[in-house]
């Protein structure tokens, strides 16, 4: 019975992230349009897009290899698994102990690895540009993320996301400089990783500014749908991550009565609802950076993360 419930909760979580991811993207787009004084597409437009893509034929470049065809599924699977492991509304999920925060980052890294390879597969210059820039960004974003993880893990004494979230709910953690630094670093990394302005613009195909879009330029049909969905999942993942670590209220523990889950999901949804306009606002008010300004941006994130960790190491003795 216990097992069944755990399984169910885990299943709900996986389905939930899958279901909410396009919606979140839709909301963000809608908000952005709103801030830009545009009408904007409906919030469910991403679902429609996905459905349309799934129905379409795949047009495959002539020299695309099996890797090109396998990559979307691998990318999607890795991202989905990663997203499923981040507590959204409940902690102590059944499989949460199978991967900690570092593993989640590494899973996202796997996804990126295959996507970057896919960008190179057809042998076009655009694919190369995208992959090359993507790995450059990742090579800074990933360490920054790990540094953030260090900060969190040192405060919580664990790299298990569930444990971290649980720890964060206790008041004695209090407000710490390190946490603040980690939050800023996390947001910077999240912006970079999800290809948002000012790093990348998800809604443009201008060759000089594209990163993510350049990589997936040759994709079409269901493959593109998988990739889009993975990107949306990733955005959701970062929202959930920020939410569960820095706003850990509303999470339910493993032995809670069923009705609590309802409120927990509601709390989660409200977190997303608050986060999405914030992101849109940020994107609207910032200008896109030149690609070679990005290292400075991410370097800042890395430094903040590192500083946060270092402060913790140092403050332990105080």
């Amino acid at each position: 019975m216990e097992l069944m419930r755990d399984l169910a909760v885990q299943g709900v979580q996986m389905a939930l992230v899958l279901a909410l991811a396009p919606l979140l993207t839709g909301i963000v787009r809608k908000c952005r349009a709103h801030f830009q004084r545009r009408q904007g597409a409906s919030v469910v437009q991403p679902y429609r897009d996905l459905a349309r893509l799934l129905r379409k034929d795949v047009v495959l470049a002539e020299n695309a290899s099996w890797l090109f065809r396998a990559a979307p599924y691998l990318v999607f699977a890795s991202t989905w698994v990663a997203a499923a492991l981040v507590p959204t509304f409940a902690v102590g999920l059944m499989f949460s102990w199978s991967a900690d925060l570092i593993a989640i980052i590494a899973l996202l890294g796997s996804a990126r690895f295959f996507l970057a390879l896919a960008g190179l597969d057809v042998g076009t210059s655009f694919g190369g540009i995208g992959s090359s820039r993507e790995v450059m960004i990742a090579s800074l974003a990933e360490p920054a993320m790990i540094m953030t993880v260090f900060t969190l893990a040192l405060i919580a004494g664990s790299t298990q996301l569930s444990t971290i979230a649980e720890t964060m709910t206790f008041a004695h953690v209090g407000l710490r400089v390190s946490l603040g630094l980690a939050l800023v670093a996390l947001i910077l990394v999240a912006v970079a990783e999800n290809g948002r302005i000012p790093i990348d613009n998800p809604s443009t195909h201008l060759e000089l500014t594209m990163v993510h879009e350049a990589m997936v330029l040759e994709y079409s049909g269901r493959h593109l749908a998988m990739i889009e969905l993975a990107a949306q999942l990733k955005l959701l993942l970062y929202f959930s991550l920020t939410g569960c670590v820095f706003a850990p209220f509303g999470l339910v523990g493993p032995e809670s009565p069923p009705w609590v889950y309802g409120t927990a999901i509601a709390a989660y949804a409200s977190k997303l609802a608050i986060g999405a306009p914030l992101l849109a606002l940020f994107e609207t008010t910032t200008a896109k950076m030149r690609v070679f300004r990005v290292p400075g941006f991410l370097g800042a994130a890395l430094m903040l993360g590192f500083l946060g960790t270092l402060l913790l190491f140092v403050s332990r003795s105080l």
Partner: protein, 664 residues
């Protein structure tokens, strides 16, 4: 132990017999086949020995009044297992790969000798036999490095290699001399006693120089990217994957076993060097376009990762934190195993590419995934493993290292507290850069369109080579999804060296691994693997079942500007350019300079990049210049007249008489 000895003797006999039969047509399969069998037996023997009580043996060889001491404990067994696993797979690979060898007579005699040398190093337990085996290992591998001697770069690489190896040996000799003390007790047993602090520090430095020069710690790594690629690929795999681990063994044996209790600052020293090694290694790899040199630079990086683990283990041990030390030490040993597996796999893959196309330069490859799909897939597995992607094995050991870093705030010393997160950051940076590098390596070599005709006409490699690679890829996956077994297997060696061990993993449900306690952190490769596999299959099946599954082939779109020539593809150097811009200006003093023709001038623009290998230019070039300068100056003494030589005799006489006159 008897099995080990007979195996080593058999390998030596094989090596002696090789020149005699090298002319035969079946010489190469015979020798490699025999080496495969012997290595396999040695592997099984060693793998089963881990955890058994240590065995000792003294043979009346070597140093006359001491004899040759041998010691077979769990640490040795672990390293022997790693060695012979690599040896067996390399032999298997070489049965096929060896057919492409133009001059088998230059490879066959050295290959078994090299294997025997590595086995011997691990077994020996006195300074003389150790150094003998150590240098024998260097010498036999040198023979392999210079086997393609018509290329003068290879001869130069061999030269630099052997000089560095001799440097290392002499440093180790000095270290052992200090360890043995004035009474000259060169057996390892006699060295265990505690040593004076300054003396111990000196020994540590010497061992770092000696073992580090073999392992490839910065700045002693310069020979490694020269020598490893110069050898035939199966030997590159052994040198990169295994021999560097023998150096790690030497370091562990001396510093953890013989040197007695460590001082805390040793950890600082080690972590600093290791962090620099890790980052510099991977950055140099990124700048490299020769596939095998790239892999060799990655060995430098991974050695750095191993030494981060070892440095942490030392730091924890110095503070009596046994469990943390065990964790860090296990992480290091596991990475030793993992790296030996995936680095061999990658070198095998590059060897397959080399024999299929005759090219090592990635800029002249491309599109091989179509021509060599199996090799491409296997190389991809290796690339994913070395990039520390879950659920493969590279991730596990790096994850354990991270866990060890996370325990470091408990260390009381400030120096360690500052250096440990720095090393962690370096590790994180290196992991990300490694992934970038292997996107480049795999993408440029195997993906895209063929850049040259030779790449276009490549053939899939032979079945022996493939089976060797398949075996390694399977091990990568197995170690990735069942790391608990490996950790338990390693733990006797951990107990020997740091007197503690990680929690027993084998009884945990679903093969989870936990470094300290489940509440702290845990990882389950098996579940992650199953998750990913299941969700990918689920998604694919669902889509193909419920949505479209049609497919059309068409020319690449490329934003509407498709190009016909494959030369417009992204090259390795253009791929690495953003990273070069980010890191290169500091690490390589890289300068980019674009020469634009004047407006109206239709000639091509030129981009010039200037990069510096700073360790080389700061240390080795001046040294070489100094030696050359001095020898040139002293050489003038060769061309004097007899009278001038006589005046030397005269002056020497007068000088000595003066000394006598004044002194007495």
């Amino acid at each position: 132990m008897a099995i080990s000895f007979s195996g080593i003797v058999a390998l030596l006999i094989l090596s002696l017999a090789a020149p005699a039969i090298a002319k035969w047509r079946i010489a190469s399969p015979t020798i490699y086949g025999a080496a495969l069998v012997i290595s396999a037996v040695l592997f099984v023997n060693a793998a089963l020995r881990v955890g058994s009580p240590a065995a000792d043996c003294v043979l009346p060889l070597g140093l006359p009044w001491l004899g040759a001491h041998f010691h077979f404990d769990s640490l040795a067994a672990f390293f022997l297992a790693v060695t012979n696993l690599g040896g067996a797979v390399a032999s298997l690979y070489a049965i096929g790969y060896g057919r492409h060898e133009s001059a088998p007579g230059r490879v066959l005699p050295f290959f078994p000798a090299f294997l025997a040398g590595m086995n011997l190093v691990v077994l020996t337990a006195d300074a003389f036999s150790f150094l003998l085996a150590w240098e024998f290992m260097s010498l036999s591998s040198w023979g392999l490095v210079v086997s393609h001697h018509r290329n003068s770069d290879n001869v130069r690489a061999g030269y630099i290699y052997l000089v560095m190896a001799s440097f290392g040996t002499l440093c180790l000799l000095l270290a052992f001399g200090l360890l043995a003390g004035s009474d000259g007790s060169y057996a390892f047993d006699a060295m265990h006693s505690a040593h004076d602090h300054t003396l111990a520090a000196l020994i540590l430095v010497l061992v770092l120089l000696g073992a580090g020069s073999k392992a490839g710690l910065v700045p002693l790594h310069v020979w490694l990217p020269l020598a490893h690629p110069a050898a035939p690929s199966h030997v590159s795999a052994l040198m990169s994957g295994i021999m560097t681990k023998i150096a790690v063994y030497a370091f562990i044996r001396v510093v953890f076993d013989l040197l007695g209790p460590p001082d805390w600052w040793w950890g600082v020293l080690l972590l600093g060097i290791a962090a620099a090694t890790t980052v510099l290694g991977v950055l140099q790899a990124l700048m490299e376009h020769d596939l095998k040199r790239l892999l060799a630079y990655h060995t430098v990086e991974n050695i750095g990762i191993i030494f981060i683990g070892l440095g942490l283990a030392l730091a924890f041990r110095a503070n009596g934190m046994v469990f943390a030390a065990a964790l860090a030490f296990t992480a290091a040993l596991l990475h030793v195993l993992n790296h030996s597996v995936f680095k061999s796999l990658l070198f095998f893959g590059s060897g397959a590419v080399l024999s299929a196309t005759g090219e090592r330069d990635m800029e002249r490859l491309g599109g091989l995934i179509h021509r060599m799909p199996q090799t491409a897939f296997l190389f991809l597995v290796g690339a994913a493993a070395i990039s520390a992607l879950p659920p493969l094995n590279g991730f596990v050991s790096e994850w354990l290292t991270f866990q060890a870093v996370l325990l470091s705030p408990a260390l009381p010393q400030w120096g360690l507290r500052l250096i440990a997160p720095t090393a962690g950051a370096a590790l994180a940076l290196a992991a990300a850069l490694a992934a970038a590098c292997f996107v480049k390596a795999f993408g440029v070599t195997f993906l895209g369109r063929p850049r040259t005709e030779r790449a276009n006409t490549a053939q899939e490699t032979d079945r022996f080579s493939r089976s060797a690679m398949i075996a390694l890829a399977a091990i990568c996956l197995l170690l990735g999804i069942l790391p608990g077994l490996a950790i338990d297997w390693i733990s006797p060696a951990t107990v020997e060296m740091v007197h503690g061990q990680m929690p027993v993993q084998r009884f945990l449900p679903w093969q989870t691994i936990i470094p300290i306690a489940q509440s702290r952190s845990s990882y389950n490769g098996l579940l992650v693997f199953l998750f990913i596999a299941a969700s990918a299959c689920l998604a694919a099946a669902a889509i193909h079942r419920f949505a479209s599954h049609r497919l059309r082939r068409a020319p690449a779109w490329d934003c509407g500007t498709p190009s016909t020539t494959p030369l417009t593809q992204y090259t390795a150097s253009s791929f690495a350019q953003p990273i070069r811009r980010v890191f290169g200006s500091v690490v390589f003093r890289a300068r980019e300079c674009v020469h634009m023709p004047a407006p109206g001038n239709t000639s091509a623009a030129r981009l010039e990049v200037e990069m510096h290998d700073i360790p080389w230019e700061a240390i080795y070039a001046p040294l070489a210049y100094g030696v050359s300068f001095l020898s040139e100056r002293l050489n003038a003494l060769q061309f004097l007249s007899i009278r001038q030589y006589l005046s030397f005799v005269f002056l020497a006489l007068v000088f000595l008489l003066l000394v006598i006159a004044i002194w007495s």
